[in-house]
């Protein structure tokens, strides 16, 4: 059953992909504007500059992965410890006061603090992701039914056991959902963060191609960024299948 569903899913993705290409092709002919090159020419650019694109994609990928890891490793403990009354009383006002700030405006501050290197870029992306995730994880933690906790306590669980066997597995599906959302955000912010003071990364490549009016390269960069996102989504999907057996 799930096998044929899987095949159906792949088919529908393939068909959508072909439709997008067709639409793109038609559009490029209709507009006849160098700003919309045909898909073939972009494909040629993708292949002939594959090395350059891959090299820069690796920079971008590692920035995204560092940022997500940093954000998760902070948001996870802060989120689940919101169960502890004292901790929550101290921390949640900070979170709720700092949450509404559009964190992207912190960029100048980070550059002053961390310099114009990758540290600032990663810190910026991680900050934005942190707030997204911590709120989700916090809500998920608070929504765990007390019944599970009571059940576990009556079976002799310690406080540590409660976190290990109940809280963490119970919120894992929501954490994965938060991660999924954060991938999109991370790549969007990445583009912004790579558009200044760096000579590598897909964001840089796109901005650079744009300024040189090299539209094939511009599109090749955009497609690579999309592929980067897709790769991360697929990776997450695989993890999700393992974790979400019970949902």
């Amino acid at each position: 059953m799930s096998g044929s569903q899987e095949i159906n899913r792949i088919w529908s993705y393939l068909i959508s992909f072909i439709l997008i290409l067709a639409l793109w092709k038609v559009l490029s002919h209709l507009l006849a504007n160098p700003g919309v090159p045909t898909p073939e020419r972009v494909l040629i650019a993708l292949i002939s500059d594959a090395k350059l694109l891959l090299f820069n994609a690796i920079f971008s990928l590692s920035r995204v992965l560092y940022s997500i890891s940093l954000a998760v490793s902070l948001a996870f403990p802060v989120g689940i410890l919101s169960r502890e009354k004292l901790f929550d009383r101290i921390v949640s006002p900070f979170i709720y006061l700092l949450y509404p700030i559009p964190h992207i405006v912190l960029l100048p501050v980070y550059i002053l603090l961390f310099g114009i290197g990758d540290l600032s870029r990663i810190a910026l992306i991680a900050t934005i992701l942190f707030f997204q995730m911590v709120v989700t994880i916090r809500d998920a933690t608070k929504n765990i039914s007390e019944y599970y906790i009571y059940s576990a306590l009556s079976l002799g669980a310690s406080k540590f056991d409660i976190y290990r066997y109940i809280i963490i597995p119970a919120i894992l599906p929501q954490v994965l959902t938060a991660l999924r959302i954060s991938i999109g955000t991370a790549i969007a912010v990445l583009f912004f963060a790579e558009s200044f003071a760096t000579r590598n990364g897909l964001g840089y490549l796109i901005i650079d191609a744009w300024s040189r009016a090299d539209y094939e390269m511009l599109y090749a960069g955009i497609v690579s960024m999309a592929l980067l996102g897709l790769l991360l989504y697929i990776l997450l999907d695989l993890i999700e299948k393992k974790v979400k057996k019970w949902v």
Binding site: Y147, Y148, Y150, S151, A152, L153, S154, L155, G156, A157, S158, D161, Y165, I166, P169, A170, L172, K245, W246, V247
Partner: protein, 246 residues
């Protein structure tokens, strides 16, 4: 022996759930608590299990005052409280894992308990894949795996159909006869209380007070269900509950 001594419970919002509840359950005996919904039955069970503190009064087990969950007491919650992220095996093994029982011993105990409850075939299943009856068995298996001396159950069979219900009642009786574990069972059903327990504590509507304690010493055999004594007891319990629908 469990002794519940003038236990009262007032929740933070002012709800008086229990008032001056006292009764005793001898070691190895079975006891049912029956009363209308909202009268504080679950609250009482939570207090006996040490998960909730009484506002006044106390619960003692073998003379020791209860103020936190005890290793000798297992509780089966009203909606079973199975962990959906653990399969049947892991659910049943949970109490052993938190007690740091060795993996080999764990395996032996869990397998034996699964066998006893007839759910060996389901060990790899997750709770959402199971019917209500099987889930209930898993919950009981999980409670029994830690070899408790007291088993507390909150309306364990209320969501089962009549047939499954009787099957589970017989199973429970068998376990009780074999292990001589002390049972305290909260139930809605007069027939269930009379069939399964040798003492029946009738609670009044909220705030729950002990309305009557009925001795039912003939209970304990499967045939009891068909005896005149059984029907007489059911009538006696029904009469003591004037509030009609429970």
């Amino acid at each position: 022996m469990i002794s519940v001594d003038r236990v009262s419970k007032v929740y933070e919002d002012g709800t008086v759930a229990l008032k001056d509840v006292s009764f005793e359950v001898e070691k190895g005996e079975s006891c049912s608590i029956i009363g209308p919904s909202g009268c504080g039955k679950s609250t009482l069970l939570f207090i006996i299990s040490g998960l909730l503190k009484a506002t006044s009064g106390e619960v003692r087990i073998e003379g020791r005052k209860i103020d936190c969950p005890s290793k000798d007491v297992s509780l089966v919650l009203q909606d079973y409280g199975l962990f959906p992220w653990m399969n049947v095996y892991e659910n049943v093994a949970f109490g052993l894992r938190v007690r740091k029982v060795k993996k080999d011993d764990e395996k032996v105990i869990v397998n034996r308990t699964l066998d006893e409850l007839g759910i060996k075939n389901f060990e790899k299943h997750y709770p959402k894949q199971l019917s209500g009856g099987i889930r209930q068995r898993v919950a009981i298996a999980r409670a029994l795996a830690t070899n408790p001396r007291i088993l507390l159950m909150d309306e364990p069979f209320s969501s089962l159909d009549a047939l499954n219900r009787e099957k589970m009642q017989n199973l429970l009786l068998e376990i009780w006869k074999k292990s001589r574990i002390t049972f305290v069972l909260v139930t809605h059903s007069i027939e269930e209380a009379v069939f399964l327990s040798r003492k029946i504590v009738v609670l009044s509507p909220r705030p729950g007070t002990v309305k009557k304690i009925i001795e039912n010493n003939s209970a304990g055999e499967e045939e009891y269900r068909f005896s005149d004594e059984y029907f007489r007891k059911c009538r006696e319990v029904r009469k003591s509950i004037e509030f009609g629908v429970i």
